[in-house]
């Protein structure tokens, strides 16, 4: 049994990665590469949903930083979904970095941020949505 699971879904040019389980030193690197692999170059943004994550520590926070840097070099945006009352948020708070990354309280809120441009692009021929 893997300590964590990552499930992806594509919403036009936004990729949602939902991580569940626990992220620590043993799996942070493989999760990061799985997410990077699953995010195509033409994607606008990655929404990393850790609202159902049971455990996150400095290894996981390191992952988020690295992921953000990697996406930035591709001109892509990282948005974290972290509700205030969640183990992931507690870790960010204790590490003193809760203000450093852009977060949304819920997946719906994060999706709304990217909804407008997606809707217009969906009209362009040859760029049909899923």
């Amino acid at each position: 049994m893997n300590l964590a699971d990552v499930r992806f879904s594509d919403h036009d040019r936004v990729v949602v990665a939902r991580v569940t389980g626990e992220v620590d030193l043993s799996n942070a690197e493989s999760i990061e590469s799985a997410i990077t692999e699953a995010t195509p170059n033409q994607a606008l943004a990655l929404i990393l949903d850790v609202s159902a994550l049971d455990y996150l520590d400095s290894a996981g926070i390191h992952l988020i930083y690295k992921l953000r840097e990697r996406l930035r070099t591709r001109g892509q945006t990282l948005r974290l979904v972290i509700p205030a009352a969640s183990p992931a948020n507690d870790a960010l708070r204790l590490a003193g970095v809760s203000q450093v990354v852009d977060t949304a309280q819920s997946l719906e809120a994060a999706m709304r941020e990217f909804a407008e441009p997606d809707a217009t692009r969906a009209q362009v021929p040859g760029q049909g949505s899923v």
Partner: protein
């Protein structure tokens, strides 16, 4: 050769002799009384019955050869699948068996004996209709053969041969008949047995291969299980223990209605279906409902009972559901209880069946036991009494392996089981007052450490947020120790946790040197530790690094 017979009617039929063959009619033994006794003894020695089929046929043929003073003796058995005779045992013409000689029914010497159920005497092989070339190659001159018949069924042919021309007479025929009468039932029994044994063996192998080779292992619980087949047949009982996300354990048990290879195969399908649905983590009730839909979708009628439980070792919380299965029991040091839940209908019983889910807590030291009816079914004893007896037999302070062993020893009747049975036991381990662990410096141990800590913290009375913060801090300290381990040998580090007057103290020490944090990310672990704990001391020396952390959880 025209003596009156008292053999079975089919033996009395007479056939027109073919070229070179003489059909003989079975005769009253034409032996002198003492000779008869001697012959009967040689061929009916009870010691022969103790032998396996091969040894038995071997010994019998040797005695026939000595008694009749013949050069060759052979037994061919009838293979109904191909309608052929197959050489099974031989003396003097062992080549026949080695070559795996197969002869069609109805033709040749042995083929006619079998097809027409008559004894045949061939005085001169050179002038007879013989199919088997080995007989000629051996230089056999004269042959005498009779059919082997059991309860009206022809099962083969017994024949003897002589290298010099010989007139086989009524005495020879009589001896051969005694030998045939002796051999035939033994062969038939052995043949039936081996067919049954083969099926039983196949079913057993199937059953075993469908059960888990080893049980999943998660921190905080001990597991043990057994499957025992019924004394004569395999059935469709199964169990399964697998790991779920967040260090939880899934435990399933079930019983397919029916017996034999079919039930075992269906069991394999249901075990796989349940395990696969369980991976979706929808909880026991929904999982069983999915298995029920799966059973409903099968083309053939199938029904089974099953129970599925999800155990949270950190807290001892159990979610359990039952589809017509017997109630689980929880036993501890001083007794036990039956988990009284309203069982839902068996899998496959009704369309759109709903399964109820129940919750219970298995305290540290207690054991959840799931079993099938084979373990407790006694003729004339109500099931509820048997379940109470099971509780009585297995309760008390004992390891989970011992518990399962005791259940089998005490509950399985001496003569073996009438039905197959499965038992699986999950023990919530006792929690130590102090943790003193030596751990491999391997990131994989971190998750185990957190499970151990959560159990220990709960035991010490920490609330949810205290548990979360302390677990995070100690895990960070252990992460540091693992990252510092750079010796080529498998490195270790230690973790101790002690409690006194609401103050918890944790010490993580390794033999590595404290590494200066690299970049702005690497110091984050220590930041978290300092934020989560009341007091933190890091002492680094030539011999190693030690982090002492304290946190007050009660005033």
């Amino acid at each position: 050769m025209d003596s009156v017979t008292d053999g079975p009617p089919e033996n009395r039929r007479r056939f027109a002799p073919r070229t070179g063959q003489t059909v003989l009619t079975p005769v009253e033994p034409a032996l002198a009384p003492s000779e008869q006794v001697e012959t009967l003894y040689r061929l009916s020695d009870p010691a022969l019955s103790e032998l396996g089929l091969n040894e038995f046929l071997d010994a019998l043929l040797v005695r026939v050869r000595e008694t009749l003073k013949v050069d060759t003796v052979a037994i061919l058995l009838y293979d109904a699948a191909t309608d052929e005779l197959v050489a099974r045992a031989a003396k003097g013409i062992e080549e026949e068996v080695e070559a795996g000689v197969r002869l069609p029914l109805g033709q040749g010497f042995a083929g006619r004996i079998a097809a027409e159920r008559v004894a045949i005497f061939i005085p001169d092989v050179d002038h007879a209709d013989i199919l088997n070339p080995i007989l000629r190659q051996k230089g056999i001159q004269s042959l005498l053969g009779i059919p082997l018949i059991v309860e009206g069924e022809m099962i083969g042919v017994l024949h003897v041969g002589s290298l010099r021309r010989r007139e086989f007479g009524p005495r020879d025929l009589a001896v051969l008949q005694v030998a045939a009468a002796r051999a035939a039932p033994g062969i038939e029994r052995a043949r039936l047995l081996s067919a049954l044994e083969r099926e039983h063996r196949v079913a057993m192998i199937l059953q075993r291969s469908l059960l888990p080779k080893r049980l999943a292992n998660v921190v905080g619980v001990e597991t043990a299980a057994r499957y025992l087949p019924a004394s004569d047949e395999v059935g469709g009982d199964w169990y399964d223990v697998f790991e779920l996300a967040r260090g939880r354990l899934g435990v399933a048990i079930g019983d397919v209605v029916g017996h034999g290879v079919g039930a075992a195969a269906l069991m394999g399908q249901l075990r796989t279906a349940l395990h696969a649905y369980a991976m979706h983590d929808l909880g026991p009730a929904k999982t069983l409902e999915l298995v029920d839909r799966y059973v409903q979708s099968m083309p053939d009628y199938a029904m089974a009972t099953a129970s599925y439980a999800v155990i949270e070792p950190d807290t001892g919380e159990v979610k359990i559901a039952s589809a017509g299965h017997l109630p689980a029991i929880v036993v501890g040091r001083d007794g036990g209880r039956v988990v009284e839940i309203a069982p839902s209908a068996p899998l496959g019983a009704f369309s759109y069946g709903r399964v109820q889910e129940h919750e219970l807590v298995v305290e540290p030291g207690e054991t959840l036991v799931l079993y099938t009816d084979g373990l407790i079914e006694r003729p004339g004893t109500p099931l509820t009494d048997s379940i109470e007896e099971l509780v009585r037999v297995v309760h008390g302070p004992r390891s989970v392996e011992d518990l399962v062993l005791r259940a089998v020893e005490e509950m399985v009747p001496p003569g073996g089981l009438r039905d197959d049975m499965a038992i699986v036991a999950i023990q919530n381990r006792e929690i130590d007052e102090e943790l003193r662990l030596r751990l491999r410096a391997d990131p994989k141990v971190l998750a185990e450490i957190r499970h151990l800590l959560r159990r220990w913290l709960r035991h010490q009375g920490a609330n949810d947020s205290q548990t979360l913060e302390i677990t995070l801090a100690v895990s960070e300290a252990c992460t540091n120790a693992i990252e510092h381990a750079y010796s080529p040998a498998p490195a270790e580090f230690s973790l101790t946790a002690t409690a006194g007057d609401g103050l918890l103290t944790f010490i993580v020490s390794d033999a590595g040197r404290w590494r200066a944090p690299r970049g702005h990310d690497r110091g984050r672990g220590l930041t978290i530790i300092r934020a989560a704990m009341d007091d933190v001391e890091v002492s680094a020396s030539e011999t190693g690094t030690e982090i002492v952390m304290q946190r007050r959880i009660a005033p």
